[in-house]
Each structure stands twice: as C-alpha cells, then as structure tokens.
C-alpha cells in the first residue's frame, strides 16, 4: 500500500523536475496501479478494499498532476509553497493579456461564422506559444530553480492552456 505523505514525484520514484521522461512516468504509473488497484482486492476485507480504492485514486491523481505540463508546473511550485492557481494576485503582464484578449475575440468571431480553419489556426498558435513557454519554464524551474519568479510564466501557461481548451471546445461544437 502506498504512503500518502509522499509527494507525487516520489510516489513514482522520480526526481522532481519539469522536464522528465514521460514514458518512465507511464511505466511507473502502470506498475503502481497493478499493485494497488481495487481489482487486486475484490475478495478482500472491507477495510482493505477501501484502502485500495483510496490508494488507486491517489495514484490516478498523482499521474494526472504530473502527466500534463501545465499541472506539473503548478505542482512543482506548490512543492515550494507557491500557489499558482489561487484567486489572489491574478495579475499578468499587460502585453500578454492584450494578445490573448485579441485571440479570444478572433475566436469568438470565427465561431460565430463557423470558420473552422480560422479556429484551427488560432488553436495551433496558442499551442505553439504554450510550447515555447514550456521551454522557458524548463530553464527557470530545472536549471535556475527560480520557482518564485516562474510563477508568472506558470500562470501564463495556464492561461494559454485554458484558451486552447476553449477553442478546441468551439471546434467540437461546430463539428457536431
């Protein structure tokens, strides 16, 4: 059974870092689930089954937090007691916000016109900017260990990911 006090990286036997081996995470995740999953305890006592449920849910949560770069960045900051997701101090650089506002407006227009090509282009742009941001974060978090400073970039990355998700939903709505 798993130790609930361990951090998510530790749970999978990995060193906390923003850039890391995704295949290794996948493998560690499957191995851990194979040990704790409720299917292994179908005939066990109530207490054991409850524990398996909690352990397995915990492993799923940890995997989800590390698999996705945005959530991984947020979690790394959280390990350093920096809250990148809270509602307090939501300030972002003005030029960044202006650029995203413009994209949102363009997306809304494209959605109204049913223009999937324009939406796809905006989606690709938002994703490309997100990837560039990930490179910046890899340097700040892994090399410079500048966690407090990186908060702004993590928030920007979160913002970009939300934008991409919304445009994707618009595309899905038009296609259906």
């Amino acid at each position: 059974m798993i130790d609930f006090s361990r951090n998510y990286f530790d749970l999978f036997g990995m060193v906390p870092a923003f850039r890391f081996d995704g295949a290794m995470l996948d493998q560690a995740y499957r191995q851990l689930q194979a040990e704790v999953h409720p299917d292994r305890f179908a005939g066990a006592s109530d207490a054991q089954r409850r524990h398996a449920l909690q352990s397995s849910a915990r492993v799923n949560e940890a995997y989800r937090a590390l698999k996705d770069p945005v959530r991984r960045a947020q979690y790394l900051l959280r390990l350093h007691d920096i809250d990148a997701v809270g509602e307090t101090d939501t300030a972002l650089p003005l030029d960044f916000l202006e650029r995203q506002m413009e994209r949102r407006e363009q997306a809304a227009d494209a959605q109204a016109a049913g223009d999937t090509e324009a939406l796809s282009a905006l989606l690709a742009e938002a994703r490309a900017e997100g990837r560039a941001m990930e490179d910046v974060l890899a340097r700040m978090l892994d090399r410079e260990q500048a966690f407090a400073v990186a908060r702004t970039q993590v928030r920007e990355l979160t913002f970009l990911a939300k934008l991409a998700e919304d445009i994707d939903a618009m595309l899905a709505a038009i296609e259906s």
Partner: protein
Amino acid sequence: MALFQISEPGEAPAPHQRKRAIGIDLGTTNSLVATVRNGLAVVLPDIEGRPLVPSIVRYGPQGVETGYAAMAQQTGDPQNTIVSVKRMMGRGLADLTDARRFPYRFIDTPGMVKLDTRAGAKSPVEVSADLLRALRERAEASLAGPVDGAVVTVPAYFDDAQRQATKDAAQLAGLPILRLLNEPTAAAIAYGLDNASEGVYAVYDLGGGTFDISILRLSRGVFEVLATHGDSALGGDDFDHRVFCWVIEVAKLPPLSPSDARLLLVKAREAKENLSEHETASILATLSGGQSVNLTLTKAIFTEITGNLVAKTLLPVKRALRDAQLAPSDVKGVVLVGGATRMPQVRRAVAEFFGQPPLTNLNPDEVVALGAAVQANKLAGNRERDDDWLLLDVIPLSLGLETMGGLTEKIIPRNSTIPVARAQEFTTYKDGQTAMAIHVVQGERERVADCRSLARFELRGIPPMVAGAARIEVTFQVDADGLLDVAARERQTGVEATITVKPSYGLSDGEIAKMLSDSFTHAADDMQARALAEAQVDADQIAAATETALATDGDLVGADERAAIDVALAKLRRFRNGSDHLALRGAVEALNHATGEFAARRMDRSVSRALTGRRVDALSD
C-alpha cells in the same frame, strides 16, 4: 464419496476448488452468461444449445416467463411482455422520448418510470432482476452450484443512475456482484487477450438500444481507456423502428393496436436482419383487422432510411477521439461489438471513417459476455496462465455540483480514470448561514437544468460566520464500478455530511427492503429445489457405483456387511423420489458409511492389480 475416489495410483484426486465466476452481458435485445472453463471463456447455452437469452420478460397468468418463452408471447400479450427494458433503467417518464413507441402502460413515478403489468406495477429494476435471475439459474445449472461472483456489463455511456439501477437489479436477483464493467472494455479484454495486441484500439459498440465508443491503449497487459463517448438511447431498435415507420407510410396503415404494432416491429426486425445477408427482404403480415401487409424492402431503401442513424454514431466517435487527442489514423484496429454492427452500412461507415476494415473475428454478440467472464474469473481469484493484466477505465460524464444561478461546477471531468477522488472548497454566501444545500449533477452542460440530477443533501450545523468565512470541502469519490459517493465537511469545525449517491427510483427504502425480502423468500424456494436436485444426482451416482462395485468385487463383502449395504440402498431408493433433500442427503451418507470399508478393500485390490500389471480401467468409474 469413497467409491469414486479410486483413481490411477500416482494421479492426483479432485482438483482444488475453483470459484464459480460468471460474466453477464445484460443487453437491450439479448443477454448472455459466460464463464471461464479450462482457461477459456465460454458462453453457457440453454438445454437446446442456444447461447442468447432474449431480454424479454412476460408477466403471464401462470407467473413470470423470460427469454424465448416470453418472446413467443410478445405479440399476443404485448402490454405484459416487456422488451428493451434496458432503455428504461434509471430513467423517468420524461426522459423516455420514445415512450410512445412502446405498448406499455407507463406509470409516471418520481425518479424512475414503472410499468403497469398483470403482476402489478414493476420498475425496470425488477424486470431486469427477473432476467438476471434466469441467467443466474442457467449458470447454476451449468456450474452445478451457486454463483460465487458475477461481473455485469453496462454501456460505457451509462450515467450514475443507470449504473446504480443495474447494480440494484443484480442484487435483487441474488447475484453476488464483483464489478460493473463497461461493455466496450469487456470486448477489448476478450479481444486483446486473444490477439496479444499492442497499440490504440477503438471499440465501436452498437447494441440493441445503446451506442458506445471507447478508445483504449493496450500495452504490456494494461488496458487503459483513454476516452469514451456514446448515446444511451441509440441502437438496433431504432433501425427496426425506421423500417416500422416505412411500412406504415408505404402501406398507408391506420393507427395500430398494441398487438399489431408489436407484430410489425417484429417483422421490421426480421427484415433488417435478412438484409445483412440478402439484397431484399419481404415483410408479410396479417393485421388483426384482416388487413394484410406485403412489402419488399431493398438494401438501398433500408440504407437510405437509416442513413442519419449511422451518421449519428460518428459524432460520439469524433468526440471520443478529440478527448483522447488522437486522429482516426492513430487507431491501429477497430473492434465491432453488438448485433447491430452486422448491418453492412454500419460496417462501411466505420471502415470509411477509420480508413481500415474493422475487426470481426469474434462473434459481436458474445464478445462482451466473454470479456466479462474473464474479468469475473480474475476478480474471484481463480488463477489462470495469462492473468497478469490490469484494467484502467474512465467515467463517461462529468460530475459536479450546482452553484449560484443554477450553473454547474464540474468536480470530476468526463474521461477521468477511475477510481478517482477529488475535493473542492466552497463557502457560504450569507452572513450567519448555518446550512448548505448540495445538489450533485452529472453531464456536460453549463446549466444544472440540462444535466442529470443525481442527489441532493444538506450540510447542517455550520457555526454562524460572516459570508465567505466558512470553508466547506466537498469530496467526490468514484469507485471502480463508476459509482459516486459525495461527502461535505466544514473544515474549521469538522461538521460532516455524507451521501452514497442513490438516485431516487420512487422506491422507498421500505419498498426496496420488501422487494429484497420477497426475493429471498423466492431464493429460499429456489435453494430447496436446487439442494434436492443436487442430492438426487449424488444419490443416483452412489447407487449406480455401489451396484457396479458389488457386481465386480462382490467377493470382498461379508454377509453382514452386504445386508447393511442392501438396507442402505433400499432406504436411498425410498427417499430418491421424495421432496425432502435432507432425508435423501442422510441416506446418501448412510450408504457411504456402509460401503466405506468395502471401498477401502477395493482400493487395495486395484492397487495390487496395478502393481502386478493388470489394468483397473474397467473397475474405476
């Protein structure tokens, strides 16, 4: 039984006790039960060798009939013969947009609809339980004993209410349920283990009344569902209905009686099935008013009138791929499941969409039950050669709470891997607020009114504070069956409230308790009958074995011993055709006892014969 324990020296006696584990595919149109035998999943047929059980229950004048027996009565007694009950599971009358298609007398009860039958008001849970009971009995007859554990499959796109209703039905039918398993995932298990596949697979499951699409990644014994989507009210039934409407239109028929409607639906279905093999199908029927129907349906017309149904299945396919962030070309293989995938236009559409012919090497009717049997076997703890595999499934629909203004706040998004637990903090919006109403919903829509309401409960006893000061943590926990528990807790004071999300069926706890106790009464009758049947089998075996042994090795028995055996045999024969299984059991034991020493002497003789090179085949049964 001592006499049967004679085996070749050096050969192990009876193998260790295996659990009787079964997988049940509870389908809209047909149901099946399967088990793992000698390491291989097999469907358990009825006495006549038929693997399917039509999912039909009739509340007839003589009692409950299921399967083919009920099917034979469907046009004669349509209002008491329930078909497609799966479509009504966990659904209120308002949810059943196709209610007028059915000839039933619906009763609009809160939570879940009921049906007025000859046997009184029946909820879909009770009707399903009658089907499950028939499947359980088939399994018990075949496995010679009570079922130790069952896995029952549900459409992947079933919501919490539909899942809970299915689990309740299984419980009502006296099935010890190990797990609810998603149908496409079950199919993937049956396929994946057979073909030792690796890579991304799509399972396209068009059943009688439900449609599911699941995208799975198979790698080194892990079945990981990446995304699932579907439509829990779209299936082969709808194709039948299109043909039915076409018949009414072309033959210019007046409004039909329930019997005529059912008759034409049956004919429509036969025509649909014929068109999978032939270019045309004729529809011949004589209605109760003497009017006759004689039409020919071509494949082209059939394809045309059902075109938008096929197109409707591709939307969820696109959405599932989008959620998995994959393109059709990333999919290595497409598995077809469900009888409705036999329709050529469905196969063609799937092949076109994925750019490859779908896999059909397993029977689409049986593959779900086979996968469920494999899972049941594993969960029950029976060890097999290739059982080092793991299943990671997802929830199909987002789970959330109602917030201010009738909006939903998603706590667990759709396609989250289960089991999953997630907490979110809420606060009070009024000064001095001491209670908080928690409304749990499931669905993708922003407005609560457009989602399915699962449960409501209240957290009380929050100490009065200014608005926004309380910290109320709401935790959602979904188990491996995909069923939800919700807990709310005020963090500063520790005040708690918990609810196991049970959709209200319009069945009070008292009613459920009564249904359960009724079913136990029936179960007690059933167990009496089974115990008697088992004792009779044992009695016949020991009587026959004793007679054979006396004939071949009678010289080993003394006169007194022979008299005791004869008395025991006579007593056994007396109880053999009675109804007292305990008395018969006692007679079997007595004969066993009387023949114990004789059996030991036979054993010695057979061993010495074996040592002197003589064969004992003829002696041991």
